[in-house]
Amino acid sequence: MTLSATTPALETRGLTIRFGGHVAVNDVSCRFTPGTLTAIVGPNGAGKTTYFNLISGQLRATSGQVVVAGEDITGLPASARTRRGLGRAFQLTNLFPQLTALENVRLAVQSRADAGWSMFKVWNGRRDLIEKAEGILERVRLADKRHIAPKALSHGDQRKLEVALLIAMEPKVFMFDEPTAGMSVDEVPTVLELIHDIKQRGDATVLLVEHKMDVVRSLSDRIIVLHNGTLVADGEPAQVIASPVVQEAYLGLEAARV
């Protein structure tokens, strides 16, 4: 199925999750169109990561739907959502700590190539998968660290590897959860460049949870604001940042500090 400009790559309809009496995400309906980078902002505890978890399948919604390219995937487990084109980089680095960087990416490439059930071939006989993984490591500037395991990589390199895994999955929707969190200042531009690069190539749909307003301002085409689990603002970056509700709910604090 080809996506017309009007079919959203991803849509949430009335997405809600309750933990006991607490409503972490409350009736969030939103459409994400191809070729757009949407930043999701909001104070800590606003439900941004929970919203991501509901979309990518780590959590099951209490009510509401997740729709990818017109297909309702609310009932599917995370692995099936991944195979339908949802790609997610995690906030806390989430890799295979003992395997080499190359093997981390190769596993993602292998999943994309649907080669996981091959039992009687030797894994390194699939040169194509290895070469593709090497190419992606080069793209994220980790080629020289291909034989190092993540547990021995710096935090910034681990984040880059996380992005590499996401690129390897070739998703239709890229979801970044605070990709620059905990990074040193000189490492941030590389990751932002990578995200910018993903946005430039093809018509990827990119969702980005980010705290740093300068990053949001420079990368995003659109900003949505979550507050106490509810969507409170949605629109062009300049317009959203200027709106009183955002100034009060979230940016006011930041502005006061800066």
Binding site: S56, Q58, P77, A78, S79, A80, T82, R83, R88, F90, N94, L95, F96, P97, Q98, L99, T100, L102, E103, R106, L107, A108, Q110, S111, R112, A115, G116, W117, S118, M119, F120, K121, V122, W123, N124, G125, R126, R127, L129, I130, K145, H147, I148, A149, K151, A152, L153, S154, H155, D157, L165, M169
Partner: protein, 374 residues
């Protein structure tokens, strides 16, 4: 964190380069990667291949056959424990199913090859079904619950085998006749070869040897396949593997089934060699503990560890008592010492050996040898 070379886990060689060659193909590109390890493995292989011609008497050959069977059994368990990170206590159940499959079929349907084939096939089917059932029911829950469920199922199977004495022979087990070609009276060659009679017993040994070798090489291939790599990824980070699009429950269940099938073949070989199967030879929980020890001593997550662990352990089981009895006699007259190494204390010394080896080689013998090379 520093990325200085001391922290870098750089590999001693580039494993992504596919090397041609006969050995690389046979060993699925998973070379021993240590000269000492290669020599040890080659020695074990050659000794096992030549045992009937090197040693006289029936005990050495029986020990060699038992090593062959346990190499398969331990390797198949390592596929679960070392490669997939699944702790199962039901492995002897599948071992037992293989043994009973052969025993019941040969006893009931007569000593022919076709009854052996039917027995083995039914055992394989039963094992596969049980492994799928246990896997689908419990591999989606937490690891500890899976272990408990396997423990319960294995105990139930052991009770069932001892209670259904009409079928299984109960505690006494089943003795049966082998097909004529595997009986001692059968002569393939009229003249002895290198001083050894080429009879059915010799054929039975080589049947055990070659089937074990082939099953081991298949397991080695599976752990080095794209599938095997997924198992290791799941062991490392199950959550991430799922997020990459791998259906974790399906992969784990498949690993359980493969492991169960190999254990079933091992049980069938054990029964064929002993011409007997009973609770104590294949089904007892003490065998489960032995398997665990062999995997850990040899090195988890390395198929070659199964070879070394099984060889060492079975040899110790068979000959430690003999050795200790000799030592005890030699030290007669000295106080305490003869008592300490009295043959009845062999389990104590085996336990001590185990503790020392786990302390000295946390990665098992294979892990230690490969590390020494770096």
């Amino acid at each position: 964190m520093s990325t200085s070379p001391s922290f870098a886990l750089a590999l001693p060689f580039d494993e992504t380069r596919r090397r041609g060659g006969f050995f690389s193909t046979i060993l699925s590109s998973d070379m021993p990667r240590s000269r000492v390890l290669s020599i040890i493995l080659l020695t074990i292989l050659l000794l096992l291949a030549a045992t009937p011609f090197l040693f006289s008497g029936s005990q050495p050959v029986s020990t060699a056959a038992k090593i062959c069977v346990f190499v398969v059994l331990v390797a198949s368990y390592d596929l679960l424990l070392g490669y997939s990170g699944i702790v199962s206590f039901a492995h002897t159940m599948f071992f037992g199913i293989g043994g009973y499959g052969i025993a019941i079929a040969l006893e009931r349907m007569g000593p022919t090859w076709s009854s052996a084939a039917i027995g083995l096939l039914s055992a394989l089917v039963l094992s596969a079904l049980l492994a799928v059932a246990i896997g689908l029911l419990s591999l989606r829950v937490r690891a500890i619950f899976f272990s408990m469920i396997t423990l319960a199922v294995a105990s139930a199977a052991a009770v069932l085998a001892s209670q259904l004495s009409d079928v299984t022979g109960g505690e006494d087990g089943l003795s049966f006749q082998l097909p004529p070609a595997l009986r001692p009276a059968f002569r393939l060659l009229s003249e002895p070869l290198f001083g050894t009679a080429v009879n059915g017993r010799l054929l039975a040994y080589y049947l055990v040897f070659f089937v074990s070798l082939v099953v081991f090489l298949i397991l080695l291939r599976i752990v080095n396949s794209p599938f095997g790599r997924v198992l290791q990824a799941i062991r490392e980070n199950e959550f991430r593997a799922e997020a990459l699009g791998y259906r974790v429950v399906a992969y784990r269940t498949a690993a359980s089934v493969i492991s169960a099938l190999a254990a079933t073949v091992a049980g069938a070989l054990m029964a064929l060699w002993l011409r007997y199967n009973g609770p104590d030879t294949t089904l007892s929980f003490s065998i489960m503990v032995d398997i665990l020890l062999m995997v850990v001593i040899g090195g988890m997550g390395t198929m070659y560890g199964a070879v070394i662990g099984a060889a060492l352990f079975v040899l110790a089981q068979s000959y430690l008592q003999v050795l200790m009895s000799a030592g005890s006699t030699a030290l007669a007259g000295i106080p305490l010492l003869p008592d300490l190494i009295h043959p009845d204390r062999w389990l104590l010394w085996l336990g001590a050996l185990f503790i020392v080896s786990v302390y000295a080689f946390p990665g098992g013998i294979v892990g230690r040898l490969r590390q020494a090379k770096q």
